[in-house]
Symmetry: D2
Subunit: 344 residues, 4 copies
Amino acid sequence: MAEKLYFDCDYMAGAHPDVLQELIATNLTKRVGYGCDDFTAKARELIRTACSAPDADVHLLVGGTQTNATVIDGVLAHHEGVLTAESGHINVHESGAIEATGHKVLTLPSHDGKVSAEEVDRYIRNFYADDTYEHMVAPGMLYISFPTEYGTVYSLAELEALSSVCHSHNIPLYIDGARLGYGLAAEGGDVTLQDIARLSDVSYIGGTKVGALFGEAVVVTNKRLLRHFFPLVKQHGALLAKGSLLGIQFATLFTNDLYFRIGREAVAKAQRIKQAFINKGYTVEVDSPTNQQFFRLPNEVVDRLLQRASFEMWGPRGATESVVRFVTSWSTTDEEVEELISLL
Amino acid sequence: MAEKLYFDCDYMAGAHPDVLQELIATNLTKRVGYGCDDFTAKARELIRTACSAPDADVHLLVGGTQTNATVIDGVLAHHEGVLTAESGHINVHESGAIEATGHKVLTLPSHDGKVSAEEVDRYIRNFYADDTYEHMVAPGMLYISFPTEYGTVYSLAELEALSSVCHSHNIPLYIDGARLGYGLAAEGGDVTLQDIARLSDVSYIGGTKVGALFGEAVVVTNKRLLRHFFPLVKQHGALLAKGSLLGIQFATLFTNDLYFRIGREAVAKAQRIKQAFINKGYTVEVDSPTNQQFFRLPNEVVDRLLQRASFEMWGPRGATESVVRFVTSWSTTDEEVEELISLL
Amino acid sequence: MAEKLYFDCDYMAGAHPDVLQELIATNLTKRVGYGCDDFTAKARELIRTACSAPDADVHLLVGGTQTNATVIDGVLAHHEGVLTAESGHINVHESGAIEATGHKVLTLPSHDGKVSAEEVDRYIRNFYADDTYEHMVAPGMLYISFPTEYGTVYSLAELEALSSVCHSHNIPLYIDGARLGYGLAAEGGDVTLQDIARLSDVSYIGGTKVGALFGEAVVVTNKRLLRHFFPLVKQHGALLAKGSLLGIQFATLFTNDLYFRIGREAVAKAQRIKQAFINKGYTVEVDSPTNQQFFRLPNEVVDRLLQRASFEMWGPRGATESVVRFVTSWSTTDEEVEELISLL
Amino acid sequence: MAEKLYFDCDYMAGAHPDVLQELIATNLTKRVGYGCDDFTAKARELIRTACSAPDADVHLLVGGTQTNATVIDGVLAHHEGVLTAESGHINVHESGAIEATGHKVLTLPSHDGKVSAEEVDRYIRNFYADDTYEHMVAPGMLYISFPTEYGTVYSLAELEALSSVCHSHNIPLYIDGARLGYGLAAEGGDVTLQDIARLSDVSYIGGTKVGALFGEAVVVTNKRLLRHFFPLVKQHGALLAKGSLLGIQFATLFTNDLYFRIGREAVAKAQRIKQAFINKGYTVEVDSPTNQQFFRLPNEVVDRLLQRASFEMWGPRGATESVVRFVTSWSTTDEEVEELISLL
């Protein structure tokens, strides 16, 4: 009997074959450690070019939670916290990694995973309007994810508004791009990688979920920030001895448009799945233009699909219907998509 | 012209005269440092007796935020956070002191400052029902304040329910008693100091706001907790070199019922003020049975009162009416209360 | 029978009578909290004047370990540690309070408690000469105590050299003045309070051991440092609700030269004791010009003295002789000194 | 012209070919995240078997500093520090990662990288014999590296003595095995992997330097420790999304004796190099039986070798001679060794 159809998440296989091929080709080439090698230098240059940010600092770290904790700890002053949507990954699913660095996570309402520029502005104004503000935690930066934890993306206008609000209050904007490749390929989206770099102070380009074995590329465009980042990375346990592995992977991802192709192909597959569910009359729970799709299905449909396919329940199973998530990635094949659709 | 009438808070003067008298009487008596002196030993014994907790550990610290940070950091495991009402002091007004120790503050709805046992129970059940709970911050203890930041108190039945829920989930209950003396004297309240000690795992008896120059007495009834508290107190900068000063003050407060008399007298004055506002037809914002009173007043009344009295605006001034707070303490005189009432 | 003669330490009694008198006189005067009161404003001004540092920021904290942890944490960047003599209080006797803020304590050889400017210079040069320095903890500030834990003091020339070395390497100099009053009165010393303020970037003037019930006055002359100190103090649990108590005490200490008189009188008594031991032929262990004296005595002399006097063993009891410490303070009387001498 | 001969360190290439082969073979196989996959389960079982520790918990992390910080933070209580040789990696080369978790690193004399059981015992006894021990940082665990940073190894008798001393004082023994494979193959060594597991409470088996792309396997034999390790790993940013990559690599390393073969072959090459230097009359700086070799060479020899070979200066270049380090690994070829020897 055939293997199951896996749509649980976007980190279920190894590396994109092109990335793996480069790791194989370079395996026995000797190079220095800690990211001081030529592969990493090349990856940095390719990323700067792709971002149209020739002066940006680029740092390659291993994983997402690690990157968030290191960057946020490095940016904030002691008395500051980080603003995020209530649903933000740093608030929900990082086991308290941000607080473990000594900083409070300050929450804003989540609108399908997004924050509104107006609410950010109001939060900061109200904060400083309170006579006791020095007894409270100051908002020291804004964290957003692109795409969000619900697969949604900000429009360019929304991103410009957020950037503008942050800078009017003199706090940095940080964009978590764990799934950035899929966000940039969002159906109907109008945000480019250059926009991400231009409008944020710091951002990271996710590799783990977009073709690499692992790896996240931090892009620092606001050079006043993170001036002593290397020892901070080491201190956070985020410095890979064989840093070249990150360089090799990111250099491959940013050659021949690979990173963007991976994004486009996976999103196209996800949108085909979404349309198939709509065609069958099922309810779309969150209208996501990226590689994560959320549906509300009758429980008997859930159970039937689970016999062949693997996917996540989104929250607890309901009495008669439940919300489920299907995720595509570079490793999702056309055959898998077609077979899933045929099951509906 | 006479001095203003001060009702801003309950830490506006020095020490209760009886406490000051003991500090004067003992001033030149030599004693060892760090709380190893006889005065402290006596204070501990008096507190144990007052709590009917002969085996409790009693530690004397300097201030409230310091005590909360030291106790919570000492109780929690690395991966745990502390549950509190959204309005809890540790969540709002401690400049991120809890997060600075590495722990997340987990919030529950506030019902006039209180949490409900049912909501605590549901939070914990839902947490462990989530498949990804190990990626989230585990609820490791419950923090409540008695009285709350809004002057309200839990009934004995509510406190028993909270204690029961905590212990059914095997997490400790910690009671912040910064204003405990006023809470125990709450109009219509049915909770005793013995109940506080019996139903909590750790609690603290506030001195700073209830007659002392400063000082908070931590009562640890669950002896499995805080086993190495002394070096932790030192590490948190909470160890007073002249620890005897804390012992002298608490020994005085727990002699001749002084701590409880201070509470009763200040609450009686606050209730007289509350009744006077009600009699004049003003709106009570929070129905507080303790020494903090919150009224919603027309702005012209606020302005008129401010000419003679000093008190806090509770939140921003409204368009036509505003919420204000009046607080009594051991240092509030009958004359001040009468004059305030005469101004209404 | 008479009370024992106490020479254990300089925090064995309450407050200097003049200080206590002011606390009594102001006890019922109402004032706002958290150091925003007039007493504190006055104390700050008196301290600025005494330091000839009209622009310095002055902050009043409660205790020494607390002050060290708050200042050092506030000054250092994440990847930096604090340089100190191996014997420095922050390295030995603060229960790891500095490390608890996330920073390494970097040690230099102790020369009777002092560090040498040359060794500081060499440490920093060697550090940056090491190719792997970004994998190590950068020296981010220098901590010295004045007087040191052994009662010794730096000469003005030594202090100028240390200040010069620090500033040539662009790191701040922080002076822990827990016993500053006694250090400024050192026999043969040539350092003034103005020198301390002028040559350091941050320092603190100890109150706990020099006449106050408690309290340490942080003087920040390098205004680039500790810009958001208030919330940091609160976060460290170092903000006293009745901050006025610190203001009242320091205002008294810096009126009529009291702080300096206390220092001079206690040092004179200590020097009388030292001379008496020398006259009797006993060995001086550390040649201290301040209020702490260290002698190496035959064990039978130790035992005989212990029958009437209380003092500390300095390290473990030896086979035939042991090192002991005698400390004077404002609370040491002439009678006590004479009786001690008569016992020799 | 031929490539240089690289002897700088043991993390200069990718993965051992057998390890890479498994990564290739499994690349497209889908599996769940975070180490809950079958590859990881198999690796755990193989490691338990190799350790003769059927009940041990095995956790796979990414890098060494990360592993040390996570384990040590997880083991220690707040008031405790970690004992180590002055030369220990955690004390020297981890950018303060241990202190960043709030704990002091307590140092013992280094004897070519090793600590002596007697000195550990004396440290702990002296600590508790000091009356002020609660003001100091308690020794809460012992960290040793095997082999040490100088390539030396403990004998079985030495390891048994250290284990015995630790357990007599009720503190855990933690062994950092970043280069464990090379340590177990030490010329003349008598310690087995089973001994490491049996005598320690926690240890880790280094993969990064011994054939893997990255990865360290933590073996917890004392099950009272690290009970909630999963969220702690996540909080420390040490949880790899594609945890299966660690499982695949360690399963390969612990199949067909690969891990041990790698160790033996690299050590044999290092010993050939050492013997060649000795034969030529050069001075061995540290007598290392493992894959790191330290020689004291005339500067003209250093310069001549540097024309063809790459290796590390160990400390600053001397006036006439300097100390250098040569390191072998699984990626060192016989040809490289022979050519290096021919250059001498």
